[in-house]
Symmetry: C2
Subunit: 231 residues, 2 copies
DNA sequence: CGTGCCATTGACCATTATCAAACGACGTGG
DNA sequence: CCACGTCGTTTGATAATGGTCAATGGCACG
């Protein structure tokens, strides 16, 4: 494992206070993988063998049932994923695939469970991490149940533009149908929602979406710290 | 605090392995409250001052936004609620009200945070609790995004009938509009969904819903351990 | 025996999904 | 370098689903 990746790992709240010895216990049996775009990393229902850490690229979490499929989240570096399944030693509830070429660190699940039984700091960090994620999913559920499709889109645009430094435009690095699925709608409907937002200054051209009237969009979207994170 | 209530508390995974001393540290400053039906216990957005424990009765967790309102969960004894907000010392994401006369134990948030910094067993129990809850919300989100209203209703009936001992009938002890909101639909639509399920042997009469063809209902609902807990 | 609230039903409207077709970008192979 | 095919996106038409409004019925409570 490269020194730079170790530093990246250290940058995560989850590993920040862990002793060097314990961290080695995790990383020594870990394997660093490089996956091409569109690679299935995890299949829901299977046993959780590894805690995954996304170091580079982009990963989609999705779920399938009865012929339907929906995107639950789109992950960016650096973040762990499927922590809960690893902790409980239970089947994944979500599948994962790369949306871009990605580098992923695989930490064996039993090592993770072993370490946090011995390292209280890691246990507390885990608590904070899980609590944050719990709140994030709760927010996704509220977003889904309390907003219409165009509203979800508008808020997603605000959040994404803000993460990307508020240049006033968002450029997708994955397909629109994935965004549609994340928003809980169909690709056709996403097109229509984008067309609808043109009235308030959202201009779409291919994968680039320009926000010409941020305040207008905000008025429409009505973002809330109780639903959206990181506005 | 009554001895019986202490025993009830001990019955929860969260408090099972806690030392008597630490438990006292939690329960000594706690207050036991009795609330009539339809009492607002918590308002979303407010600071989390207490970890709540539902000892008796029934509590609805709901969220509001922009004139809309939705039920997120309906709780039964014995369970804690809003653990994540307490741990992170952040605002509640959900409001809570009693649906029946209820008894609720209020554990001061700072005491909870204090105890788990000193009691590793409590920390581990918290991890397990949060991981389980995280998975539960994830399941709610999947339910919402991957199923139609009648499907959600059918699965809710299966789960509820199973919890109630599989007598083949479910009797609501709260209003149908609350169930509608939990399922993410309107009261009118719930009526129609129930009417639709009559074709597969679901007979509604007031607040009692009889399941005459369990296998037929299961065929229709297609429950999955990756979406529904406790089938 | 009213009064009020919940549940149901019907009619209507809005939203969203689905199907089909056309368009456009992109890459391959002639 | 262009023709062609593929695939994602868009657009239009249509259907299904769900929401809203209004009216009615039923039930509990005063």
């Amino acid at each position: 494992m490269r020194e730079a990746d170790l530093q990246t790992l250290r940058g995560l709240q989850l590993f920040k206070k862990m002793s060097a010895r314990q961290l080695t216990r995790l990383t020594q049996p870990a394997s660093l993988q490089r996956y091409p775009q569109n690679t299935l990393l995890i299949t829901e229902g299977e046993r959780a063998d590894f805690l995954h850490v996304l170091l580079d690229g982009c990963v989609e979490l999705f779920a399938s049932h009865n012929g339907r499929q929906t995107t639950v989240d789109i992950l960016r570096p650096t973040t762990t994923f499927i922590l809960a399944a690893v902790i409980l030693d239970q089947p994944y509830l979500k599948s994962a695939r790369t949306l871009l070429e990605s580098r992923v660190l695989l930490l064996p699940a039993d090592a993770v469970r072993g370490v946090f039984r011995e390292d209280p700091d890691f246990a507390y960090a885990t608590i904070a991490e899980l609590a944050l994620r719990y709140r994030s999913v709760t927010k996704l559920l509220k977003d889904q149940k309390l907003r219409s499709t165009p509203e979800r889109l508008a808020n997603w645009l605000l959040k994404t533009a803000s993460v990307n430094g508020n240049t006033g435009s968002v450029t997708l690095d994955f397909e629109k149908k994935t965004l549609a699925s994340l928003l809980g709608t169909s690709p056709e409907n996403l097109s229509r929602a984008l067309a609808q937002l043109e009235q308030i200054g959202v201009q779409t051209s291919g994968r680039t979406i320009a926000i010409t009237d941020l305040n207008g969009l905000r008025d429409y979207a009505k973002p809330s710290p109780l639903i959206d994170d990181g506005i």
